[in-house]
């Protein structure tokens, strides 16, 4: 009975937090496929894009299921320009017009577009269709720059990058992405931690509260049985001076 009490003590914590754990695993959140441009931690880069000018990032990889892009822009004038986002790669060419932006404001722009359905590498461009200019926000701090080249109307701009995140369209729970997560976790291990090994590891860790409850319950039961066998209700001193 004492073992059951120990196991129940452990399970009590699981029951207490079950709601949060379940919500964490099933909450639909962003699913990033790649992040070719990081935000600024300390030093922002503001690239002014006049009407009819383009800014491009290359190389940018579009995963097969990429269907959403996020960029950061600032509208400096009273009237917002029309901004197109273009995704180009061999066999993949999509253009999306950004919904109307608030004038004299800065914010994150999110657009959805058709998936390439296979992984392709190409470029991601911002095209200002006018009539007013727009500021594209990025960073120029060395520690945050990725090996992605920024060009403004074909002219390279060194030591600067623009914020760009590519995601799957919609929200996705961690639980629904388990295969992708395991594959990604295995990707940098040179095959030494293969996906097939991570599956039982993940299962063991997900079941950890249950396993711990059983182990502790068994331990207590055994300890009590040994104690009863000795009959004195006390264990021998574990250590004593020799």
């Amino acid at each position: 009975m004492l073992g059951v009490a120990g196991a129940l003590g452990a399970l009590l914590m699981l029951l207490w937090q079950w709601g949060e754990i379940h919500e964490y695993g099933t909450y639909k959140r962003d699913a990033r496929t790649s992040t070719p441009g990081l935000s600024a931690l300390f030093a922002r880069e503001v690239v002014l894009l006049d009407a009819d000018e383009s800014a491009c990032l290359e190389p940018v990889t579009f995963a097969a299921d990429t269907g959403q892009a996020r960029v950061r822009v600032q509208v400096p004038k009273r009237r917002a320009p029309r901004l197109d986002l273009e995704m180009r790669a061999p066999g993949y060419d999509e253009r999306v017009t950004v919904p109307p932006m608030e004038p004299r404001a800065e914010g994150e722009v999110r657009v959805e577009f058709p998936q390439p359905r296979r992984e392709v590498t190409g470029e991601f461009c911002f095209h200002n269709r006018g009539p007013t200019p727009i500021n594209l926000i990025g960073t120029n701090e060395g520690r945050s720059l990725l090996p992605v080249e920024l060009t403004i109307d074909g002219r390279p701009k060194d030591d600067a990058n623009l914020e760009l995140q590519l995601l799957r369209a919609g929200g996705h729970s961690l639980a629904s992405r388990r295969t992708e997560i395991v594959d990604r976790a295995s990707a940098f291990t040179a095959g030494l931690v293969p996906a097939w090994l991570l599956w039982p590891v993940a299962l063991l860790l997900v079941l950890l509260p249950l396993i711990v409850a059983v182990l502790f319950g068994v331990s207590v039961t055994r300890a009590e049985a040994a104690r009863a066998d000795r009959g004195d209700g006390r264990g021998p001193p574990a250590s004593r001076p020799s």
Partner: protein, 491 residues
């Protein structure tokens, strides 16, 4: 089974006697460490690039790196890996993800660069003042692993660092056996260690901390045995060897040297042997420890001019006892009007013992929400009160077991004193507090023992339920941090 016969008979019998629950906890620890190895992108562990550069310096140049000078901070191949896979730039960028899709491209580039890209890593390296023991272990794995690619070597060293973590779980079990007569205290203490996400994550990276935690746990076990069971050549040799190894692993292991001597001193005091036996044991222990300290400080002096405490802090800087005591007081408690403002600024107990011990995993990036830390702080306070109250109620038992009490208290206070001394010295030199939650991991078996002390002191049913609750919370802590790690790096 017959294939395992070549294992020496005694070892084989001992392995077969391993309690199944301990074996299960070791498997859990291995899985926990391997999970962090996989989740944490390469070079993303705390200061991992500097530790890898240290290993590469040993392997490629045949010598440890220098804090000042040298041929380069990192090898060219580490730069290619870090930038090519985006893993260095995304640090502290919570929106950033590594470039999983570029692995083949980066590996092909590394192949093209060849062996020439592996050199130039002899410094300047901030970790160069660390004594070399862990790095020699890592260098052996780096050289011997059959996978010669950079990712293969790096993963091999990470996996090899998980092994000390698993050994720490076994040592925690044995420490509990030394401290408690109640058998279920063993899985409780070992489970607290196996489920600790901070230790598991650091064990999944290239970092000497997990190795140091294993050695400090070994020193604690050996010290308890010497102090409680008495002097014998194997016990004293084990104690001195482990304490020396800890000193040669990290500056934060220096406090284990006096701990070993205290254990021998307690044994001498209890046994009161004849002068010759006292001189042999006491002298041998002292000599062994002094040799290790000499080797450790010599290494640091040679590789990190102007550093002390195994490279953990600068050696220069005026020491003001009053200022030091004021800093330590204000680290834990509000200051008085007659005290000057602490040189630590706002950094104190809450940051180190709560936020950066229970959270702040992988470059301080994985954290709970602030209200969770408030709950943890309250829990920690109640826990301390429980330990204090239990100690007060059971003071006779503690008095009877004074050697164990002295060892545990000396270990804890020694760690805290060294950390604050190093932190104060660093602050005086303007290099920041240099004190964070993972530095407390060397006392993780003691934390488990404190929980077990309270649980085993309660009426049996209540104690068992409390023990189960502690393990259940530890399991949830492990899962929560793994979830945060998955969300941050691979989702």
């Amino acid at each position: 089974m017959n294939r395992l016969r070549p294992i020496p008979g005694r070892l084989w019998r001992r392995l077969r006697r391993t309690p199944p629950v301990l074996a299960a906890l070791v498997v859990i620890a291995l899985a926990h460490g391997v999970a962090w190895t996989a989740i944490t992108p390469p070079l993303q562990g705390p200061d991992e690039t500097t530790h890898i550069a240290y290993v590469q310096s040993l392997v490629e140049a045949g010598e440890g790196p220098q804090v000042n000078g040298g041929t380069g901070q990192y090898s060219r191949e580490l730069e290619i890996l870090g930038e090519g896979l985006y893993v260095l730039p995304i640090t502290q960028h919570f929106e950033g993800r590594p470039a999983w899709h570029l692995v083949d491209e980066v590996e092909a580039r590394l192949d093209r660069e060849g062996e020439a890209a592996r050199t130039e890593a002899t410094g300047p390296n901030a970790a160069a003042g660390n004594p070399p023991l862990y790095y020699l272990y890592a260098a052996a794995v780096w050289e011997l692993t059959p996978d010669r690619s950079l990712l293969g070597r790096l993963t091999s060293v990470r996996l090899a660092t998980v092994v000390p973590f698993a050994i720490t779980v076994i040592l925690a079990w044995l420490i509990a056996a030394e401290l408690f007569t109640v058998a279920w205290a063993r899985p409780l203490v070992a489970g607290i260690v196996a489920l600790n996400p901070k230790l598991a994550s650091i064990a999944g990276n290239v970092n000497p901390d997990a190795f140091l935690v294993m050695l400090s746990s070994g020193v604690l076990l050996a010290a308890l045995r010497v102090a409680q069971r008495g002097l014998s050549p194997p016990r004293v040799i084990a104690l001195v060897a482990l304490a020396s190894a800890a000193v040669l692993t990290h500056g934060r292991g220096y406090f284990l040297a006096p701990l070993a001597l205290i254990a021998v001193g307690i044994a001498l005091l209890r046994e009161r042997p004849d002068r010759r036996r006292a001189l042999v044991f006491g002298g041998a222990a002292l000599a062994g420890i002094l040799v290790a300290l000499y080797l450790g400080t010599s290494w640091t002096r040679e590789h990190a001019a102007g550093a002390a405490f195994g490279g953990a802090a600068p050696s220069s800087g005026a020491f003001d006892l009053g200022e030091f005591l004021s800093y330590v007081w204000q680290f834990y408690f509000p200051g008085f009007h007659f005290l000057d403002e602490s040189i630590a600024g706002g950094y104190g107990y809450n940051q180190m013992w709560i936020q950066n011990f229970f959270g702040g995993i992988v470059n301080l990036e994985l954290n709970f929400r602030p209200e969770k830390y408030e709950a943890i702080k309250l829990g920690a306070f109640l826990g301390m009160m429980a330990v204090w109250t239990t100690a007060a109620i059971r003071w006779r038992t503690l008095r009877d077991r004074w050697p164990a009490v002295v060892i545990c208290a000396a270990m804890f206070l020694g760690m805290v004193a060294l950390l604050h001394l190093v932190s104060y010295t660093s602050l005086k030199n303007g290099t920041g507090p240099v004190i964070t939650g993972r530095y407390l991991l060397v006392c993780i078996p003691l934390m488990g023992a404190a929980i077990a002390f309270v649980a085993t002191s309660l009426p049996r049913v209540l104690g068992v339920i409390l023990g189960g609750m502690a393990l259940g919370l530890a399991a949830l802590h492990a899962i929560a941090m793994l979830g945060f790690g998955v969300e941050r790096f691979v989702a």
